[in-house]
């Protein structure tokens, strides 16, 4: 019963998201796209976090996807649609190669290395003048769907749906067991037959592909990119704050956090033109100190408690 209700609610939300452009103008659609991009990044960051590995390199894979897609169009003459697919595969391939090296690392060593990788990608793009356009970046000959706001909204939504579907699959399949076991206790996981490296690699490659996908959609929607926007640290910071606020280790938590913070950020941007991101920093601090499970975790605990009380009430 409960399960069906939640599926129904999800379907309704999805339909609402799909028909939303009918009621919105170009500016709100633009905002919605930005929120959806951050949401997809937040969810994908969380997917890897479920194994206990904290990546600080979301922006790295995102930017890599942007550049792969843009350069595939410019240098290899691919169609924009094909270039998005290419970017996803490219990000996956890079992650696969890197994974063999960096997935041996744990805790702070892994985190800092992912941060460093992001810098490496940025510097490479910065310096390959002839190929990547250097610091000025590249401009595409055309924007996807001629810049039609509704169509761009839908393609971004499609990217988000793919991410959410992947995340739900991570939650419902045996990947959930494997990743949670690795996060909780690697030794126990190993003696229960879990091949730790294999599942870390799956999670790392899958999340990198999703981040690359969102980067590719972004670049095809705006028609240009440069190192400082493609590898903007905000693409790491914002998703991280969103996921933490909403509640990590779930799909719904990062989504809720993205909506809340995304809308709040738009409003704050108008109020405080410089430094509105301070709110993100403060939210990260406060969540870690006072609400480490995030809003979703808090709600779940509340629900469980009231449920337990009801059960107890019935018994007595």
């Amino acid at each position: 019963m409960k399960l069906k209700a939640s599926w129904l609610a999800a379907a309704l939300l999805a339909v609402a998201a799909i028909i939303l452009p009918a009621f919105l103008g170009a500016y709100p659609l633009n905002v919605a796209r930005s929120i959806m991009t951050y949401m997809a990044l937040a969810v994908s960051w969380d997917m890897l976090l479920r194994s206990g590995q904290i990546s600080f390199g979301i922006a790295g894979l995102f930017g890599l996807g942007s550049y792969a897609s843009a350069l595939a169009v410019l240098r290899a003459g691919m169609s924009p649609a094909a270039s998005i697919v290419f970017a996803v595969l490219f990000a996956g391939l890079v992650a696969f190669g890197l994974g063999f090296a960096i997935l041996r690392l744990r805790a702070m060593y892994f985190s800092i290395t992912t941060l460093a990788l992001m810098e490496i990608f940025r510097i490479i793009m910065h310096n390959l003048h002839d190929f990547s356009g250097g610091p000025e970046g590249v401009v595409l000959p055309a924007i996807l769907f001629n810049g039609e706001a509704k169509a761009l909204y839908w393609i971004c939504l499609a990217g988000l749906f793919v991410t959410i579907a992947a995340s739900v699959y991570f939650e419902k399949s045996k990947l959930h067991l494997a990743l949670t076991a690795i996060r909780n206790d690697e030794i126990s996981a190993r003696t229960s037959g879990v091949n730790i490296f294999k599942y870390l690699l799956i999670a790392f490659v899958a999340t990198s592909m999703l981040q690359g996908l969102m980067g590719a959609i972004q670049v095809q929607s705006y028609g240009f990119t440069m190192p400082d926007t493609a590898f903007d640290a905000n693409f790491t910071l914002l998703p991280l704050a969103m996921a933490l606020l909403g509640g990590i280790h779930s799909t719904i938590g990062p989504m809720a956090g993205a909506v809340l913070l995304g809308v709040a950020a738009e409003w704050l941007k108008l109020k405080i033109p410089y430094g509105h991101l301070v709110v993100y920093g403060l939210i990260i601090i406060l969540v870690i100190l006072f609400m480490p499970k995030g809003l979703y975790g808090l709600a779940k605990d509340k629900f469980k408690k009231s449920h337990d009380n009801r059960v107890k009430g019935k018994l007595s």
Binding site: L177, A181, S188, N195
Partner: protein, 239 residues
């Protein structure tokens, strides 16, 4: 053929020899006690056999196959399972999921099959409330869950590292009955580490005694416990 054989198995940690040239074997359907004073190397020995640690020298064979350097997850798939002295529940999974994990990854079952297998094992161990978080369990329930998780691997060799510690006498009795039933029904070789000698006496057919990483005695408990070397290991030099 013996289920599990070790030959001259040794493990040294930066000079300190924790397990020293240990040779022994385990047979089908047998419950073997592994005893020895604190620091004798019992847990290190189980780590070596389950692949958590790799030996410095020596050999481990499982049903005639050399597994000395196989990774832990492969040994689990072959049929070696264990529990932990310090309880290791996977806190963010439910009880049922904790038990399922062995079925899924060691036996390659899909989630549905694994779920029903796990439910069956838990029913057999009289463990219920399977949707609960592990933080809601009592000590006895956690110990049962750990055993259930090991059994879900469908092992042929099972090591129980101090599963009785922290249980009261009724619970201990219940646990003894359970372990005996499992060993008999599933024709497993079970290795039991315990400090409570009453449990060892009741539960096992044969014991090996370790002291400073060496095997100092082997045989039925009644016999071994009168062995002067064993008395000395436990109580110190001759009185």
């Amino acid at each position: 053929m013996s289920k599990l054989v070790t030959r001259e198995l040794s493990k040294a940690f930066s000079g300190l020899v924790a397990v020293n040239k240990l040779s022994f074997s385990m047979e089908e359907g047998e419950i073997l006690g592994i005893i020895g004073p604190n620091g004798a190397g019992k847990t290190t020995f189980i780590h070596l056999v389950s692949g958590i640690l790799m030996p410095t020298s020596g050999q481990i064979e499982f049903k005639g196959k050399d597994i000395t350097f196989s990774p832990a997850h492969e040994r689990s798939r072959l049929g070696i399972a264990r529990t932990y002295q310090l309880i290791h529940p996977l806190e963010n999974l439910t009880v049922l999921e904790n038990v399922m994990i062995g079925s899924v990854f060691s036996r390659g079952k899909n989630l549905k099959e694994a779920r029903s297998a796990a439910e069956a094992i838990c029913a057999e161990l009289e463990l219920d409330g399977l949707g609960r978080d592990t933080s809601q369990l009592t000590i006895l329930e956690i110990k049962k869950m750990e055993i259930a998780r090991a059994l879900a691997n469908e092992p042929e060799v099972l090591f129980l590292d101090e599963v009785m510690a922290g249980l009261n006498s009724d619970e201990t009795r219940q646990m003894i009955g359970m372990v005996q039933r499992i060993a008999k029904e599933k024709r497993m070789a079970v290795g039991v580490v315990e400090h409570v000698m009453g449990v060892i006496r009741e539960l096992t057919q044969r014991v090996i005694v370790l002291d400073s990483g060496e095997l100092i005695a082997e045989g039925p408990y009644e016999e071994v416990s009168k062995n002067p070397r064993v008395m000395e290991a436990y109580l110190g030099g001759a009185a």
